[in-house]
Subunit: 322 residues, 2 copies
Amino acid sequence: MNPQEIIRNISSQSSKITSVFFVGCGASMAELYPAHYFLETEACKIRSSIYTANEFCMATPHSVNEHSIVITCSLGGNTPETVAASKLAMEKNAHVIAITHYADSPLAQNAHYVIVHGFEKNYAAKLEKMTNALHLAVEILKLYEDYSYYEQMLNGIQNIYDIIENAVSYILPAAQKFAKDYKNAPHIYVMSSGATYRVAYAFSICLLMEMQWMNSGSFHDGEFFHGPFEIVEKDVPFLLLMNEGKTRPMDSRALDFLQRFGAKTTVIDAKDFSLGSKISPEVVDYFNPMLISAILRVYAENLAIARNHPLSQRRYMWKLQY
Amino acid sequence: MNPQEIIRNISSQSSKITSVFFVGCGASMAELYPAHYFLETEACKIRSSIYTANEFCMATPHSVNEHSIVITCSLGGNTPETVAASKLAMEKNAHVIAITHYADSPLAQNAHYVIVHGFEKNYAAKLEKMTNALHLAVEILKLYEDYSYYEQMLNGIQNIYDIIENAVSYILPAAQKFAKDYKNAPHIYVMSSGATYRVAYAFSICLLMEMQWMNSGSFHDGEFFHGPFEIVEKDVPFLLLMNEGKTRPMDSRALDFLQRFGAKTTVIDAKDFSLGSKISPEVVDYFNPMLISAILRVYAENLAIARNHPLSQRRYMWKLQY
């Protein structure tokens, strides 16, 4: 079923939904963030929360019940913590939707509804997970509260994949420059704002720490001036993800500061890819994370080449019990 | 007015509250997190969100209205972004409560209610900000939904200050050891779970990055195994904040891994200070962050001494316009 069919089906069974929970681990949790951010910003009655799966299992929120929708996510569909969270949510009579690449995975088997997304085909396919989660959130808001920009949002969902494929078609030189400039960095700080905040987080903990064994930290660039900016000196390496939309002034303020004090700064700016000319201004904020994630994937691939350290190389993951 | 009086006053004016927003910057935002975490976990109808102030101002959630309570926080009461957020919330007819150390500060002047907290007197006073925010959340839940462990929670709020003062009275040797062991660390990773998650964040971005100009990153220890753990090697410096309560198994799992692979690990464990013997098990989770924050303050002070870098030293803050 597609997101619209799933939410219509839930609404035919349950006229009252009070809470939505987004549950995953690592990159899969981060990819649920734009959907959570959308509901936090746009909803007036529906509660929305995002959890790393083990916290959801151990300190389960009281409102997980027949009036809640739990959206779980795992690429392979076999992340044990997320499978357990999905199972727990079903036991508590929540409506459970799994987003995964594998239709017959344990995650899919422990959910009422499954959205199977692409991955290998191209960069756009890698963002189907994030985009489907957002689409679910939009349908929930539309059906349970109403949403003024529903059509604009559906148009955005239709267009984002082409925007992504177009963007990645010409960023190789920029990605290669990033790889060359940062391959020996002792640590890299990543920051952004709005719906893209956890794209910075995911790049830091997954692409840099997990897949490149590089030291890294991430934070919201609205927080930059309340602590982290004191680390800035000439050539301290930063990666700034700039958004089109309401939170752009925060991104710009951080950029001004980085440039003023000579930090080693790489910017990935959604505006350079005309996101705002292709998606309505009322909803453009929510599509920055898809575009920027795709671009970052190319940056990471080139960093891996420059460092001669494949993205699939691990010390512990898939090798040990822990 | 105290938290109970404030929320009773609001309830006499407004029988319906749908959303609560916690708004601040840096450490002040992080100190609101336990209150937000409490409402997210325990409430079934009330929405709860936490925002860095500029994001609240720029991408203001639609639900900020006469049915919402906005709790803003700034130690000095003059953080421009937080003052602006408070003002904006008042313009939108929300019920606005400011938590600050200064009764006549701009923040206090832009709120309907003010809680003035201590700071200088002792370590316990430094945690009045966090504890008052939690108390507000408890009163909100009690009045607008009901809460089964209200009495246990009030007892906890009464007892936590003595628990803190007792704990800090004998941790100097441990803090000095930490300072000696980590003073030359190229970076320090900090992690925790549950209500304490953003204590790790605040220590990383404020105490280490801002006040010691040390490289750092922080994350939830439930996320550790989904990315960051690949950075672990012998002697990589970690600081793990362990909780009493439901999420402790996550903390323990991270500790096992750090020890197994020889990371340089310092643990601050609420159990060592008998938190669970002094506060009811139903509510103990919510008091870890106060106890651990106070202990971390002593650790930071000793790190500052060992590094000959006062906690008040800044490159940019208070010195420049930015």
